[in-house]
């Protein structure tokens, strides 16, 4: 018996390897840019001439504005997508590193002083934008492996929501099988416990699953559960199965919502920052420039 070598032809397209290479390039560029900006700022700051420092801050302000606008171009890329304007992964990498350089530039432009109320708010929103962006970066790297480990099969958020709704409906149907007391047990205890934030916190903090906790729940309710008739007992077991599924869906949904939700926060802070920046630039030009 002889085995031939497995056919080798070219990998058709790979985004992962290329993305890593591009990221390395941007990282080097960002470090060099921040170093150059820092050196420039420190050198000008030590200079006795106030005019020179003033001119530097103005320049840094313009550079920062241009960089911030370039950073924001990612949202345009998302909207004019698919027209051969470069890989999205490259755009995202550029967005991250240009954003970091832009933030440094604007902080140097401010001289790390809050100034008046407008510039204080502007700095606060710039900080929030940077923090939310970095948070998003961290989330995009850390959460997918967590989600992958949790899910049996990858599911989209819409599917999770609909399956969860079906399971909750199933639990309600099982609850309606028995007496009002049984209904209360399933609806008020089991359903609420399944969907509670404290349960979710326990899951993420201690990795304690509902399957592990259900025996305790059963023990607490042992007397009452022993009094159930066969039909109610079967309904309770089904309700427990639904509870386990709902619990799992909740855990996955939370991660998927975080994966999407941080972006909303990032967009709100960025939009506010740009609005404030527009006012800041206008006032600076009006009072110090073209008037």
């Amino acid at each position: 018996m002889s085995s031939g070598s497995l056919a080798a032809s070219v990998r058709v397209s790979s985004s992962g390897i290329a993305a890593k290479r591009v990221e390395r390039g941007w990282r080097i560029l960002a470090v060099l840019s921040v170093a150059a900006l820092s050196w420039w700022t420190i050198a000008a700051h030590q200079h006795p001439s106030a005019d020179r420092y003033h001119s530097l801050t103005i320049k840094l302000g313009w550079i920062g504005t241009v960089l911030a606008l370039m950073t924001a171009a990612l949202s345009i890329r998302k909207r004019v997508a698919y027209q051969g304007v470069g890989k999205m992964s490259v755009w995202l990498t550029a967005h991250i590193y240009l954003g970091i350089v832009a933030a440094f530039t604007i902080f140097y432009h401010s001289g790390l002083r809050a100034g008046g109320p407008l510039s204080t708010w502007l700095l606060a929103f710039l900080s929030l934008t940077v923090v939310s962006g970095l948070m998003g970066w961290w989330i995009a790297r850390k959460l997918p492996p967590l989600l992958t480990a949790m899910e049996e099969r990858p599911a989209i958020i819409e599917d999770l929501i609909s399956v969860r709704a079906e399971c909750l409906q199933g639990m309600l149907e099982q609850a309606s099988v028995g007496t009002p007391e049984f209904r209360a047990l399933v609806q008020d205890r089991l359903m609420k416990e399944t969907a509670s934030w404290s349960r979710m916190a326990r899951f993420y903090r201690r990795r304690s699953t509902l399957a592990e906790e259900l025996p305790t729940f059963r023990k607490e309710q042992a007397t009452y559960l022993a009094s159930l008739d066969t039909r109610e007992h079967r309904a309770f077991e089904r309700a427990e199965e639904y509870a386990l599924r709902v619990n799992k869906m909740n855990a996955e949904l939370l991660l998927q919502r975080i994966l999407r939700g941080w972006l909303t926060f990032h967009i709100v802070t960025t939009s506010t920052m740009f609005a404030l920046a527009a006012v800041h630039i206008f006032t600076a030009l009006y009072y110090g420039g073209f008037r």
Partner: protein, 496 residues
């Protein structure tokens, strides 16, 4: 092919060929000259200048050629295999096997050749007669000669021996899960795998059947039983459509006795096999085994999501839908694999091979398309052309469920139908029967009547767009990629 193009010269050439034996000029005109869907072929008379390449080695083709004037040269790499003159034919190997062209054919002088499409070729092959008989024989002859050349142990076999062998061997096709060889059965033949994958299994204590190896095209088996007069020591099971060349015991032993070098080579191979560590169980064949077992190995361009990097943003699906009139050609469902991580061979990551066309090496979907709409281009990309009538044959044939039927609404289609434009109108005249009437119907949409055309849709690798692969291009995290399963496996094996 227009009737006036079928000159007496061409008809004389064709009538001299064994391929069209017994056909009078009228029959030939009917075969070659009639319009599509009327039993005739979609043939085109093509002219080639000296140096023009009719077939390129390694490319995928959809046609078969009959040379009617001039001479062509057949070459493999830098070696010349043959020179063919009028009345020769070539290009049938790819159409039968689905594999890339295995030689280059170039014009030596001004040439004329009739190009026959895959659809017509398949129709001709369905009818018993000299065409099919000769084609089957040629396929074995050329296939065996080319195939032996690719196997190192047989590469130096004497062409005369091959010619003799061709007369005796049988080409056998097995379907999925069919036994090629049964463990414990008497050894009666030697086999060469021409196309496909087989699983080698052994019965363990307790009756459990365990996979111990996988073999692919270019491999051979069955020699041990014949040389040592033993019973089969393992079963060989087809993992999909498998083509094998069967050499019967007597012919094999005559070959080995005639050429001593083969006996020596088999002995070396046997020693090498014996020195290998004990056979592995299927569970330890791990990722490689799973890729072969689940058919992913056939993929030349599988769409793979690295789940540990995927944020489930859905940009890939959105991009695909945006590029294809709102109908995404991929869903984020499919086969899950635990694969070794690229930078760390000991760690595993989860891969999702999405429900999206894998552009198989040997696409089953292309078999029996009534209009020849599903085809593959020279790069091997399987594409569905506008002539799709929505019969669903390809979708049913795809073993991975990667082709779906969609209803395409468009005013353009309505206009085409009204004017009887040739693109689809011609086909509709023939195909609009009571049975397939629902394929095209009108629906009320936003108070406007739009024509809904049922068509097969699948990933076309975004070939109409300059950047290619919308899904890969629009993933912000670089989590999705297209990969050739064979190359990927080799990479994984290389990493140990």
């Amino acid at each position: 092919m227009r009737e006036q193009e079928l000159t007496f010269e061409i008809l004389d050439v064709l009538r001299s060929m064994d391929l069209f034996k017994g056909k009078d000029p009228d029959e030939l005109i009917e075969w070659l000259g009639a319009a599509p869907f009327e039993g005739g072929a979609e043939c085109v008379l093509r002219r080639f200048a000296p140096g023009d390449r009719l077939i390129i080695e390694g490319s995928f083709g959809n046609s078969f050629f009959v040379l009617t004037r001039g001479t062509v040269i057949v070459s493999l790499g830098s070696a010349t295999l043959a020179t063919l003159g009028p009345g020769s034919f070539f290009g049938e190997m790819t159409l039968i096997s689905g594999l890339p062209r295995n030689a280059t054919v170039a014009a030596l002088e001004q040439c004329e050749a009739i190009e026959v499409t895959r659809r017509s070729f398949e129709q001709w092959m369905k009818k018993p007669g000299p065409f099919r008989t000769l084609m089957d024989h040629t396929y074995i002859e050329r296939g065996l000669a080319n195939h032996l050349r690719t196997i190192p142990d047989f590469a130096d076999i004497d062409p005369g021996v091959v010619r003799e062998l061709v007369k005796k061997v049988r080409l056998r096709i097995f379907s999925k899960d069919e036994y090629v060889v049964q463990e414990g059965a008497p050894a009666d033949s030697f086999y060469l795998i021409r196309d496909g994958y087989v699983r080698v299994t052994k019965a363990m204590a307790g009756g459990e059947e365990r996979t111990v190896a996988y073999l692919k095209d270019g491999s051979y088996f069955g020699e041990r039983g014949l040389l040592h007069e033993e019973l089969r020591n393992a079963s060989i099971i087809a993992m999909g459509k498998v083509e094998v060349i069967q050499v019967m015991k007597g012919d094999f032993l005559a070959l080995v006795q005639g050429e001593k070098k083969f006996a020596d080579r088999f002995a070396v191979a046997e020693r090498r096999q014996a020195e290998k560590p004990s056979t592995k169980a299927s569970s330890s064949l791990g990722f490689v085994g799973e890729v072969v077992e689940r058919g992913l190995i056939k993929a030349t361009s599988a769409l793979v999501i690295h789940l540990d990097a995927c944020t489930r943003c859905g940009n890939c699906v959105k991009a695909c839908a945006e590029l294809h009139d709102g109908i995404s050609r991929l869903t984020r469902h499919g086969m899950l694999f635990e694969a070794p991580v690229r930078d760390s061979p000991t760690a595993l990551e989860r891969l999702l091979v999405t429900t999206s066309c894998m552009h198989c090496l040997d696409p089953e979907c292309m078999i029996g398309c009534p209009t020849g709409a599903i085809t593959r281009d020279v790069n091997g990309e399987v594409i569905i052309q506008d002539s799709c009538i929505g019969c669903g044959n390809c979708a049913r044939r795809c073993p991975y469920g990667n082709i779906s039927m969609a209803e395409v609404q468009s005013e353009k289609e309505l206009a085409k139908q009204r004017t009887g434009a040739p693109v689809i109108g011609g086909y509709l005249k023939f195909w609009k029967t009571a049975e397939n009437e629902p394929m095209m119907h009108e629906v009320e949409s936003n108070n406007q009547t739009a024509v809904v055309r049922r068509v097969a849709v699948k990933c076309d690798l975004c070939q109409d767009y300059r950047h290619n692969h919308g899904c890969v291009h629009n993933c912000p995290y670089g989590a999705i990629e297209r990969m050739d399963a064979g190359a990927y496996l080799q990479e994984v094996r290389g990493r140990g």
